[in-house]
Symmetry: C2
């Protein structure tokens, strides 16, 4: 096992788990990372749609950003109330389930699962986009780079993260700090230059372009830009992680995050307009991210540029990392309601729900490969899941206030209702505007996931119903089982099996399959070494039964014999003792136990309630 220890870290004992509580300073990186990093791809997603219009397209970026900021403010107030109402964490799944019932909860669960997977995929692809902007020669290797980042995150997460909050601190503040500095400096230069500053490193030339933007294209731009809002729900999910007074600290943190995000989004939009920066072809060889152009235009491509781009990559990769923390928790919560296989409930070596991580990694890798690591192709799938979750959470809050009541319940209902309507409308816009570009994938996956979860639940309910009893235990027929011990030759393993059998019962059958002409050898030992000593202590010795095997089969004659014995004793429990060698080294495993494994499998498949397999481990 030591190989796994080295790569995955030593198993963590249960007692090592302890929660640390944080304040706003640590809370902004931990819970804001996801929202703030969205600034790195949201505006760019909107600008990408404006490429065909050239410079003329930039006229539209300010009004679209303004609309997004308004939506952001509405959602902000809405989530402030969620924090009040759910001090133990009000994720969309919880809020929707508690207030609107199981079906709404399932819908939220499906939306969130897709949301988390896409958050990982988009974080990685946008992060790699930052690397490619800085080092254009890497562009042909986009997919491989994305998968490498995913592999790195997987390894780090399977090791388990301790104090991951600290690791978030530096990149997040570096990211915000450097971007705000660039924005401030750029705006100052623009102001001094009368609105048209000269770029230090000129962004790729945009054709002048003309033409009005049709309304449906404007809707698309808005829909894409809305991905800048993804992640703002994080604080409300994790209120319990804050220091007392938890709600107050959480609200402070959320406020800071929203203000920072708004500053970033507004600044980016203004600078793009001032410097004439548009998006570049997202899958072409000349790709350069909007932020890369922006930093280059304001500061040039010196050390500051590379530090900033590095912080952008780090923040995006860490934002993908939040999916690694949240997705397994979500699948666990869903599995606790029997909607997903219980395997998601099992904690692994490092106190993680490892299967959730496997599922996340598998789907993320699939997305990155299918969409070749191009952020722009993933955006349409992303927005749907995120806004569906937003809407369900806000709508659930409306019902919550209706149910709970309280002093200012009506006002609160209006605030959350406004949030629900605004995000709901946005969801519809995204769905319609982005349907052909990929939103249909999400729109199809959500009902499929719901069907899957419902059928899993149905199965578990069926099993529970089938096995539930409300009566006393049956106490008839509590006699020792008839024990069958397959014996190959007289060995310590056979001794252990026979001894165990004699501990269980006085009716023991030692069965020998005569495939290799060893019967005579075994018979020689039998009376002297087995039967006589057992008679000597007054017990009934096992019966030795020999099964012929003309074709040197071992398994089938044994199986047929066991089934025949079972038929002959319709009232008895049959116990089959199968010796199993426990090897010292993993590479010895392929050398042993294939027959016993196969016999066990066959007995499970062909057997019934009265046949029980008992493994007798023999440690080498």
């Amino acid at each position: 096992m030591s190989f796994f220890d080295v790569v995955l870290g030593r198993p963590i004992a249960t007692v090592d788990e302890h929660g640390e509580h944080i304040g706003p300073i640590a809370g902004i990186p931990v819970f804001g990372l996801d929202a703030l990093s969205s600034a790195a791809y949201g505006p760019e997603a909107a600008l990408t749609l404006l490429i065909p219009l050239g410079l003329a397209g930039l006229h539209y970026i300010l009004p679209v950003t303004a609309a997004i900021l308004v939506l952001l403010v509405i959602v902000f107030f809405s989530y402030l109330q969620t924090i009040d109402a759910y001090p133990n964490g009000g994720g969309s799944y919880t809020v929707a389930t508690e207030n609107m019932g199981e079906r709404a909860g399932l819908l939220a669960a499906a939306a969130l699962m897709i949301d988390y997977i896409l958050n990982a995929a988009v974080g990685i692809s946008a992060g790699v986009g930052a690397i490619i902007s800085a080092f254009p020669a890497l562009q042909p290797h986009t997919t491989i780079l994305c998968l490498a980042v995913l592999a790195g995150l997987t390894l780090v997460n399977l090791r388990g993260i301790k104090d991951s909050g600290l690791a978030f601190l530096a990149p997040t503040y570096l990211f915000c700090g450097s971007l705000l500095f660039v924005i401030g400096l750029g705006l100052w230069r623009a102001y001094q230059a009368g609105g048209h500053p000269a770029a230090i490193v000129a962004p790729p030339h945009l054709p002048i372009g003309v033409g009005m933007l049709p309304l449906w294209l404007l809707a698309k731009v808005f829909a894409s830009g809305c991905t800048a809002m993804t992640g703002v729900e994080a604080v409300s999910n994790g209120v319990m992680a804050f220091r007392q007074p938890a709600c107050r600290n959480a609200k402070k943190t959320l406020t800071m995050i929203i203000l920072l995000l708004m500053a970033l989004l507004a600044g980016i939009a203004l600078l793009c307009r001032a410097y004439g920066i548009g998006a570049t072809d997202p899958s072409g060889a000349g790709y350069q991210s909007v932020l890369s152009q922006l930093i280059g235009a304001v500061i040039g491509r010196g050390w500051f540029y590379y530090v900033s781009m590095g912080s952008i990559f780090a923040v995006l990769a860490l934002s993908a990392n939040t999916s690694f923390a949240d997705f397994p928790r979500l699948t666990r919560a869903i599995a606790m309601h029997d909607f997903l296989p219980h395997v998601f409930l099992i904690r692994g070596r490092r106190l993680l729900f490892s299967h959730g991580i496997y599922a996340l990694v598998g789907f993320t890798a699939l997305l990155l490969i299918i969409f070749q690591g191009v952020t722009d192709r993933l955006i349409p799938l992303f927005a749907i899941g995120a806004f569906l979750a937003f809407t369900l959470s806000q709508a659930g809050m409306v019902v919550h206030w209706l149910r709970v009541g309280g002093p200012r319940a009506k006002l609160r209902m209006v605030v959350n209702g406004l949030g629900a309507v605004a995000t709901g409308v946005t969801l519809l816009v995204v769905l319609v505007a982005k349907f052909r570009e990929g939103a249909w994938v999400t729109a199809l996956l959500i009902p499929l996931l719901i069907l899957l979860m419902a059928s899993v639940r149905r199965h578990y309910d069926g099993v529970r119903e089938e096995t539930t009893i409300d009566r006393p235990i049956h106490t008839d027929n509590l006699v020792a089982p008839l024990v069958i011990v397959p014996v190959d030759r007289w060995s310590k393993i056979a001794e252990k099996g026979l001894r165990f059998a004699l501990k269980l019962s006085d009716e023991v059958e030692a069965v020998h399959v005569d495939a290799e002409d060893r019967l005579s050898e075994l018979e020689q030992h039998w009376e002297a070494n087995i039967a006589d000593p057992i008679r000597a202590i007054g017990r009934t010795p096992p019966r030795l039964i020999s099964l012929p095997s003309p074709f040197r089969f071992v398994m089938w004659p044994l199986l047929e014999h066991i089934l025949a014995v079972e038929r002959e004793h319709p009232e008895r429990q049959i116990a089959v003792l199968i010796p199993e060698l426990v090897v010292k080294h993993w590479w010895q495993a392929p050398l042993h136990n294939q027959r016993s494994q196969m016999l066990k499998l066959l007995l499970l498949v062909k057997g019934n309630q009265r046949i029980t397999v008992i493994n007798i481990p023999w440690y080498l």
Copy 2:
């Protein structure tokens, strides 16, 4: 399971296996296929090396072929004697082991394993070569075509082949018939044209070329051409498959096969010379096999051409198929001597040694991918294995006659000795001449395989020694085990577990891990539904033990408790009863038993000789 039934065929019951015995007419295709099909790549392998010499190179093909024919005759007489000596089948592994001991046997085993794998790879690649010659547009897809043929063969073989002899009959006779017809017609035309017949479809132009062939290149040509002899050992391996008098029929069959092969090889060489046919670049776009050129030159590219090429493909694919029959038998024979994992001893659903097939397919696919399905690159690896097996088999026969004696033992020793020396010298020639081209791979693999097999044997011997006893069974301390039953809630499954525990012992512990606050529910049931009824029949009721689980872990508290109980009772056997749900459909399996599987695994890893896991199957 029905999906597998459709794809892989219904499982075959043991009683269905019966041998049919064959005569020479059926024997030639069944045992000659492999040898005869070698005519499709052996001469071509030799000619490929002569490409640089152009037309001048063709001068050398006749003397090289003559040398190969002489070697073939020597080997023929040698194998006639093997048939006499081993009427139950004298494969190289058997002959070498019996006569020259385990080490020679291991060497033969390693050589044969490699030989069979390469036989499959070369058969497939040469068969695909025939297809590409007929349809040159397919050339870029060589590797994929090879893997597709391999996949087809795998599927057919995992279904198991009934009466495969009949399937061999038509293609083999078609192959021999059409080739002999082409050779006869071609020779007649050449005779009439005074040695220089006009080609109907002209073969690719050969440059005139000049130059003497250096001796070492001649050795290479001979070494490559010798692959035309592979497969002639098949009859001697399978004497027991012949009708009585088996030896006589086998010898008749071998004679016919050798005569046919000689006629083919001589005819091909003569026609290549007469029509000026050389090999083409084996991995280039213009590749055309020698036989394709030859048939085209003599008959043209009409229907006859396509039928002939089809029969060549069929024969080569079927020749690869013989590896599917022989390799699993070989690995089984080796595993019976403990030199390979015993998994190779297990017969699958269709009476096949499935694991042998998996191994063969894996290695063959690997070779085809690495060498991109180009026969010419595989040939150097092939010849080594084949000639090493020849040599060991002949040398073993020399020792056999020395041991057994008999009327004409000396003469027989001389014949086999001549065979051993001839094939041994050829082996050396092949090894030296082809070392850099790939023979080193085989030369390296053989000792590695031997080391592997020796260490497997050492492990099995060690286990046997560790477990062997020659004393009576210990009869002390035969008391019922202490039984631990994990109980989640009061259900039919818990009832079954507790009932089984009570059948085994009066000391039963029901352990509940309090992870989901179900203890009170279970405690409510306990006295009325479990403890009281058991007391009523005069038995000791199980003790209910509750384990706290602050972090909602289930496995670890259980494991720690079991290990603690084990430490407290240093003399007792501890039996842990783990309920296991047996699902109706395979797709339900991921929904259940992960915890019980994991607990079992942990108990195996952390446990010891005194802890035994008992699975209580519950059939849904």
